[in-house]
C-alpha cells in the first residue's frame, strides 16, 4: 500500500475512493493521510467516514459529492466545520445528486462530453452548481440536464479478489466502482485475496475491472474496515455510531487520527490494535453460498 500510494497518488490530484457503503478502502485513505498528500480534490458519491478522516487530516482542498453524512447516525464533523465556519480552512464543494455522480463517472469512462439525466428540474441544485446545465434534446422532444464527465487522476477500489494482473472480481453491492475505475487515469485495486488467474477465468461474469486498466494491486485483508466486504466481514456499525461523538469535536478527531493513523505504520498494526475479538465479531453469522452455474466448454 505504501508503494502504491507513493507512486500513484500525487499532490493536487483528483482522487476517487469509491464504494457505496460496501468496499470502501479505508486502508488507502489512511495511507494517503500518513504520507501527507496535500491539495487533493476528493470525489465520492458519499464521503462517508473516510473522507471526514482525510479532510481532518488536511489532505484536501475540494470535495465533489452527492450525499454527505453518516447514514442512519448523523453528520461528518470535520467536513461540516470546514463548510459552515471555513475553519481551519475553507473547503470548496461541488455538489450533485447520486444519479448525477453516476452519470459523471459514466461520461468519464465512455469518453463523452456530458451525460444527460432527467433530474434537477425545479430544484436549486443547478443554481448551487452551475456545472449542472439544462440542454434541449437534439431530436426536439424536450429538455434534460447535463452533467460533465468526471475523470479522476486516481480511482481506488476495494474488492473481494483479483489476480496478479489486476483482473478484479466483486460480489454484493457494486456501487459505481466500475464506472469510476474506467473513468480514471490511474487505478489502484485493494483486495482481500490475491487469486490465481484460473479462479478469475472460471467465473468471468463476476469480473468488474480488467487488469488492462489497473496500475497496482494491493493485498490488504480487512482493509475496508469499518466498511464491509460481502461474505467476508460485516459493516462495523458500532464504529459508525461511535464516530458521531469523535467527529463532533476537532480535538477528539485529531486524537483519533493520532491513535489510529499517524502512530501506526500500516494496516496490519491497525488490525492488531482493533483486536481479534472485534474482528471475529464482524464475521458473517453463517455462510450463504451462491449456486454454481455451468459456463460450458466449447472447443
Amino acid at each position: 500500500m505504501r508503494d502504491a500510494v507513493a507512486d500513484l497518488v500525487r499532490d493536487g490530484d483528483t482522487v476517487a475512493i469509491e464504494g457505496f457503503t460496501h468496499l470502501i478502502s479505508f486502508a488507502a485513505g489512511h495511507e494517503i493521510i500518513r504520507q501527507g498528500r496535500r491539495e487533493l480534490t476528493l470525489a465520492r458519491m458519499t464521503p462517508d467516514l473516510i473522507y471526514d478522516q482525510m479532510i481532518a487530516g488536511g489532505v484536501a482542498r475540494k470535495l465533489i459529492f452527492s450525499w454527505l453524512g453518516n447514514p442512519g447516525v448523523g453528520g461528518l464533523g470535520a467536513i461540516r466545520r470546514r463548510i459552515e465556519t471555513g475553519e481551519p480552512a475553507p473547503l470548496e464543494v461541488e455538489e450533485y445528486s447520486h444519479f448525477g455522480m453516476v452519470g459523471r463517472y459514466t461520461a468519464g469512462a465512455a469518453n463523452l462530453p456530458f451525460f444527460p439525466i432527467r433530474s434537477y428540474f425545479e430544484t436549486d441544485l443547478p443554481v448551487a452548481n452551475p456545472l449542472i446545465r439544462q440542454i434541449e434534446s437534439p431530436y426536439g422532444d424536450g429538455v434534460v440536464f447535463a452533467v460533465p464527465p468526471l475523470r479522476p487522476d486516481v480511482t481506488i477500489v476495494h474488492a473481494q479478489r483479483a489476480d496478479a494482473a489486476g483482473n478484479t472480481q466483486v460480489w454484493g453491492l457494486l456501487g459505481c466502482q466500475k464506472e469510476a475505475a474506467f473513468a480514471a487515469d490511474r487505478v489502484i485495486v485493494v483486495v482481500e485475496e490475491l487469486v490465481d488467474e484460473a479462479v478469475i477465468r472460471a467465473d468471468p461474469n463476476r469480473t468488474i475491472i480488467p487488469g488492462l486498466i489497473v496500475d497496482a494491486v494491493v493485498v490488504e485483508p480487512f482493509g475496508a474496515h469499518p466498511s464491509y466486504v460481502q461474505g467476508a466481514y460485516d459493516r462495523d456499525n458500532r464504529f459508525y455510531l461511535d464516530w458521531d461523538a469523535i467527529t463532533r469535536d476537532e480535538a477528539s478527531l485529531q486524537a483519533w487520527l493520532r491513535e489510529w493513523v499517524y502512530d501506526l505504520p500500516d494496516r496490519a498494526a491497525y488490525l492488531e490494535r482493533l483486536g481479534p475479538a472485534r474482528v471475529a465479531s464482524l464475521r458473517p453469522t453463517a455462510s450463504a453460498r451462491s449456486g454454481v452455474v455451468d459456463y460450458g466448454e466449447y472447443r
Binding site: F20, T21, H22, M45, T46, F65, S66, W67, L68, G69, P71, G72, V73, G75, I79, R80, I83, E84, G86, E95, Y96, S97, H98, F99, V102, T106, I117, R118, S119, Y120, F121, E122, T123, D124, L125, V127, A128, D141, G142, V143, W171, G172, L173, L174, G175, C176, K178, E179, Y228, Q230, D234, R235, N237, Y240, L241, P284, A288
Partner: protein, 268 residues
C-alpha cells in the same frame, strides 16, 4: 431518549410518538408494489410494511438492490443484509437509469429536514448555501426520486423548524407553487412522477388536496390541533372529517421493538 407516552388511550401497550409515526407510515404502503427506500426513517417504515400490510412489497435500495428481503433492519441502506436473498443486485447506473428513470418505481419514500405546504423538500442546507448555518446531507438520490417515482411518500418529525413557510433550499421538487403549476411543468417536462401524496409525521397524517397543498387527514392519538399549529409555519388546512389514527397494534409494536429496532436507533 424516551418520548411522552400518549395519554388516555384504551390501548393495551403504551407507545411513543416515533413508534406511532413509523406504524402510520408503514400502513400507507398497503397495496403498493415497488418502493424506493430512502435513508433513515423510511427504512424502518418500509421494513415494517413488508412484515405487515405489504408482504409482497418490492424494495429498491439505491445502493443497488432490487427485491431486497432484509433479515435485519439495516442501519445504513448499503448494508450486506439487503444483498443476501435479494432478487437482483445491479450497478447504481442500472438502478437509477433503468429502474427509476425507466419508470418502474411506484413509491419513492423520503425523509426531509424542511418541507413547505406544497411538499417541496430541503435536505441540503439551513441558511445560505455558500455559508450555511447547518450543512445537511444533500440530495443523494432524493431529487431524482421526487421527479421519477410515480408518487412520493414523506416521513419526518414535525416542528416549527421543519414545517416552514419557505424552505431554505429546494433539493427535491414537490407540488412547486401549487398543483396547477406543478401539473403543467410535469407535463411539459415529461416527468413520470405525480409528486407527493402523503406526509406522515409524529403528530398526524397529511395528504395532498386538489390544489396541491397538504391537508391534515388524521391526528395521532394523544396529539392535539394546538400541537399541530405550534409546529407548523403556516395556517394548516385541516380535514373537516378529521380522523384519529388507529393506535399501533401489539404486533406492530413487537416487530419494531424486538425485531426491527431493538436498540432504539430509529425510535429515539
Amino acid at each position: 431518549m424516551s418520548e411522552a407516552i400518549a395519554p388516555g388511550m384504551a390501548t393495551p401497550v403504551p407507545f411513543s410518538k416515533s413508534e406511532m409515526m413509523i406504524v402510520a407510515a408503514a400502513r400507507e404502503l398497503a397495496g403498493q408494489h415497488v418502493c424506493f427506500v430512502g435513508v433513515g426513517l423510511p427504512n424502518i417504515a418500509v421494513n415494517l410494511a413488508q412484515r405487515t400490510v405489504a408482504p409482497d412489497l418490492e424494495l429498491i435500495y439505491e445502493a443497488g438492490a432490487f427485491g431486497a428481503r432484509p433479515a435485519r433492519l439495516p442501519l445504513s441502506i448499503g448494508d450486506p443484509t439487503i444483498v443476501t436473498g435479494a432478487t437482483a443486485v445491479v450497478s447504481m447506473y442500472e438502478l437509477f437509469s433503468f429502474y427509476l428513470q425507466g419508470g418502474l418505481v411506484d413509491v419513492g419514500f423520503l425523509g426531509a429536514a424542511q418541507i413547505d405546504r406544497f411538499g417541496n423538500i430541503n435536505t441540503t442546507v439551513i441558511g445560505p448555501y455558500e455559508r450555511p448555518k447547518t450543512r445537511l446531507p444533500g440530495s443523494g438520490g432524493a431529487c431524482e426520486i421526487a421527479i421519477n417515482a410515480r408518487e412520493v411518500f414523506v416521513i419526518m418529525r414535525q416542528s416549527a423548524r421543519s414545517f416552514v413557510e419557505t424552505i431554505d433550499f429546494r433539493t427535491s421538487p414537490g407540488n412547486l407553487g401549487g398543483a396547477e403549476q406543478a401539473e403543467r411543468i410535469r407535463r411539459e417536462g415529461g416527468w413520470l412522477g405525480r409528486g407527493p401524496s402523503v406526509v406522515v409525521t409524529d403528530l398526524g397524517v397529511w395528504h395532498f388536496g386538489d390544489d396541491g397543498e397538504m391537508r391534515l387527514d388524521s391526528l395521532h392519538p394523544g396529539a392535539t390541533l394546538d400541537e399541530i399549529r405550534a409546529t407548523i409555519g403556516w395556517e394548516p388546512r385541516i380535514a373537516t372529517s378529521l380522523a384519529t389514527t388507529p393506535a399501533p397494534s401489539a404486533q406492530e409494536l413487537r416487530l419494531i421493538r424486538e425485531e426491527l429496532d431493538p436498540l432504539g436507533a430509529y425510535t429515539r
